[in-house]
């Protein structure tokens, strides 16, 4: 009998005992896990041995960071919990960027990490790192399991915590001796979380007050974040906007929660948001925030943000309420339930002057660019992608200009359609996230709209897409710069382009070397044909668009300015 087995006194039937690694796999299956991402290593070998014939699809990234972003993309695309495994030490350390990305964007992930034997912990053993210490600030919860008897319950709790309330990553650290220790696994579904409570049902009185505020508002704006998507509340949102007649702007992560083709859509707000969205927020008399957190890229200068408005804030996380702005009517709970209750209490109101004002702003300052230019404009590539995919593709992005242009020029029509690193702004997210999304939705068209510098960071994962024949598409908006860094250097650092350019490889050749299709596009006239060819591929495909090198993202609210103090409006107006 193992020394740390829980069944100490009565005679043990050896056949009823299971090793920890098997208990882990059984608990993953109990939690409905069908797919995992991860990378093996010394102290997770017992677990990998049990995964060898488990009915779980396993995807090996080339790097643990990639694996974590894949689990993230899988989770965002499917709404399920993404699962990633890594070994101790470097494996666990490599997860941190992915965990922090998921933490900031509230994505449910369970990360399982191997750890050195319990008696070696703290001795600087080979490949030892203080994984729970390192990942504590970038996880919703983490813990180490030191007794095999606690394994099933802890992993069950990890899934529960990751997927309920405000979702987030949970890490469970698994010493190798616990993976091989035996105990009886009775299949009970216990949990023990005295400190974890989730309030889902909104306070009825607060909801009534919110409804009354909406009914009496002349100039309301709905400001919607990723919380509406993770709460699966898009349908309730649509009904509410129709019944109460409300304009809707979304954050980057909120894109897709509301059909952008509808006249009530104000598109994205914020630093690079639509001028009409920013103006509407600044002039509204009631701001209805749902599943959004008043991030500094949305509010710009806090003091002047929506300063004439009464603010309703609907959020599942009480700590988000009044964190950045003082909220007048907080409603804590699940957006889906609260919006449904709100729906019953709101009345239609025409608000003609308000919608007229919005329509005028929309007409005057649409997102635009020089359509006559001879060069390949990045915005043109995205518009053409949107046209050829009929707004139906699942889009991931890198971070920076490529991400903002995507947010501005692709028209999102359904939730979970845009997968982008918003809060943390993790360059290199696009490719592995696309792989994760494609795994979740084998039949969907999944396109990573990336920048050259973002793509450089994780392009090794192209080999993963090839190995598992995941037909993702990568559109590199290649300007040979870290575009957004260069834009800031142009605008605020006197065009001193300090270390913001790279010598890039020929991406089409790289794609071919990895065993798939690569296309280079350097003429504007070739853009539609190349996209058509790309979309026809049944395998991964990389298209390298040599775009206008010094194109900027407009409009832009410079740091420290108010949301309605946007640069670039003259240009948009002249192109309108």
């Amino acid at each position: 009998m193992e020394p740390n087995s829980g069944n100490s006194i009565e005679a043990i039937d050896e056949s009823s005992l299971k090793i920890g690694a098997q208990i882990i796999v059984d608990t993953l299956l109990e939690q409905g896990v069908e797919t995992m991402f991860g990378y093996p290593g010394g102290v997770v070998l017992p677990l990998f041995d049990r995964l060898y014939d488990a009915p779980i699809r396993f995807i090996n990234p080339r790097h643990e960071q990639g694996g974590c972003h894949m689990a993230d993309g899988y989770a965002r695309a499917s709404g399920k919990v993404g699962v990633v495994v890594a070994t101790s030490g470097p494996g666990a350390c490599n997860l941190t960027t992915g965990l922090a990305t998921a933490m900031m964007d509230s994505v449910p992930i369970v990360a399982l990490t191997g750890q050195v034997r319990t008696e070696l912990i703290g001795n600087d053993a080979f490949q030892e790192a203080d994984t729970t210490g390192i990942t504590r600030p970038v996880t919703k919860y983490n813990c180490i399991v030191k007794r095999v008897e606690d394994l099933a319950r802890t992993i069950r709790e990890a899934f529960y915590i990751a997927s309920t309330g405000r979702p987030g990553p949970v890490l469970v650290d698994l010493p190798v001796d616990v993976q091989v220790a035996k105990c009886r696994h009775d299949g009970s579904k216990q949990m023990d979380l005295p400190g974890y409570r989730v309030r889902t049902k909104g306070n009825a009185r607060q909801i009534s007050i919110a409804a009354a505020a909406i009914n009496s508002s002349e100039q309301p704006v709905l400001y919607v974040g990723g919380g509406v998507i993770s709460a699966n509340a898009s349908e309730e949102l649509r009904q509410l906007t129709e019944k109460a007649h409300l304009p809707v702007t979304t954050t980057l992560l909120g894109l897709g929660s509301f059909d952008q083709r509808k006249p009530e859509s104000l598109d994205m707000l914020g630093m690079h948001g639509a001028a009409y969205a920013n103006y509407a927020v600044q002039e509204c008399d009631l701001l209805i925030a749902v599943g959004a957190r008043f991030d500094d890229r949305v509010t710009a200068k806090l003091k002047t943000f929506a300063s004439n408005a009464k603010i309703i804030h609907i959020d599942i996380d009480p700590a988000s309420i009044s964190k950045n702005v003082r909220v007048d009517i907080p409603v804590v709970g699940d957006a889906k339930l609260i919006l449904a209750e709100l729906l019953e209490r709101v009345e239609f109101r025409e608000r003609k002057p308000w919608f007229k004002k919005i329509a005028d702003w929309k007409k005057k300052y649409p997102f635009s660019y020089d359509r006559q230019a001879a060069t390949i404009k990045p915005q043109y590539v995205i518009e053409e992608l949107c046209r050829q995919t009929a707004s139906e593709a699942t889009i991931t992005t890198g971070v920076g200009q490529n991400q903002m242009w995507t947010a501005q020029f692709y028209r999102f029509i359904k939730p979970r359609q845009l997968i982008s690193s918003g809060g943390l702004g993790t360059m290199g997210f696009g490719l592995p996230a696309a792989i994760g999304a494609q795994v979740a939705m084998p039949d969907a068209t999944v396109i990573d709209i990336d920048g050259d510098s973002s793509f450089n960071m994780t392009m090794t994962e192209l080999a993963t897409a090839v190995q598992y024949n995941l037909p993702i598409k990568v559109c590199i908006l290649n300007n040979g710069y870290m575009g957004m860094v260069r834009q800031w250097q142009e605008l605020f650092y006197n065009k001193r382009y300090s270390h913001s350019f790279l010598t890039n490889p020929d991406y089409a050749t790289v794609a071919r070397a990895i065993g798939t299709v690569g296309i280079t596009v350097d003429k504007k006239a070739d853009v539609p044909g190349a996209i058509k060819e790309m979309l026809a591929q049944k395998q991964p495909c990389v298209v390298d668009f040599k775009i206008e090198r010094e194109e900027n993202v407009w409009p832009m609210v410079p740091a420290g300015k108010s949301l309605d103090e946007m640069d670039g409006l003259d240009m948009l107006e002249s192109l309108a």
């Binding site: 729970t132 504590r136 983490n142 005295p194 400190g195 700590a319 964190k323």
Partner: protein, 163 residues
């Protein structure tokens, strides 16, 4: 303003690190922190004294409550509580000064817990102001060492102290 926050937490490894890490990461200032077991072996009590305005304190309470192993958070601001610090203080006490020092100790209801050739170690407990006052009156004699537990507190039934 100074607030005494009382947090009931699961008695698990890493909880203190989690709480301390959250305070550091969100730039909240801890004035003192005292941790001890409760009557329930599965639970510990953290008493945290925090300085900040109402907005900061609201975030402190919410962020604490958000930590999974934190079971309950109370802010004692504005309610009657018994708040106590315990201090051990070593005072330099040559023979000729000892009577003076001993009478001070008596006035503060302190307890001599160790006497050496040159030093006397005193145990004093009470509200923070009393502890601070005792330190002040000891300064002229020379303080060699001070160790304090930080504040612990409990809400009271009666409105004022019996004495």
């Amino acid at each position: 303003m100074k607030h005494i926050i009382s947090a009931l937490v699961e008695n698990k490894p890493g909880v203190l690190a989690h709480v301390a890490g959250m305070f550091a990461a969100r730039a909240f200032n801890i004035d003192s922190l005292a941790v001890g077991r409760t009557e329930d072996p599965k639970l510990s009590r953290m008493t945290i004294v925090v300085v900040g305005d109402d907005k900061v304190l609201e975030q402190v309470r919410k962020q604490l409550a958000k930590i999974v192993p934190v079971v309950k958070v109370q802010d004692f601001a504005g309610q009657p509580v018994v708040a106590r610090d315990l201090m051990l203080i070593a005072i330099s006490a040559p023979a000729e000064k000892r009577p003076e020092i001993l009478s001070l100790i008596e006035m503060f209801k302190g307890k001599v817990v160790d006497i050496g050739q040159k030093l006397v170690m005193v145990e004093v407990s009470g509200p923070e102001e009393k502890i601070e006052a005792f330190i002040d009156v000891c300064k002229p004699y020379g303080i060699k060492n001070v160790v304090r537990t930080g504040t612990i507190a409990m809400p009271r039934q009666a409105k004022t102290e019996p004495d």
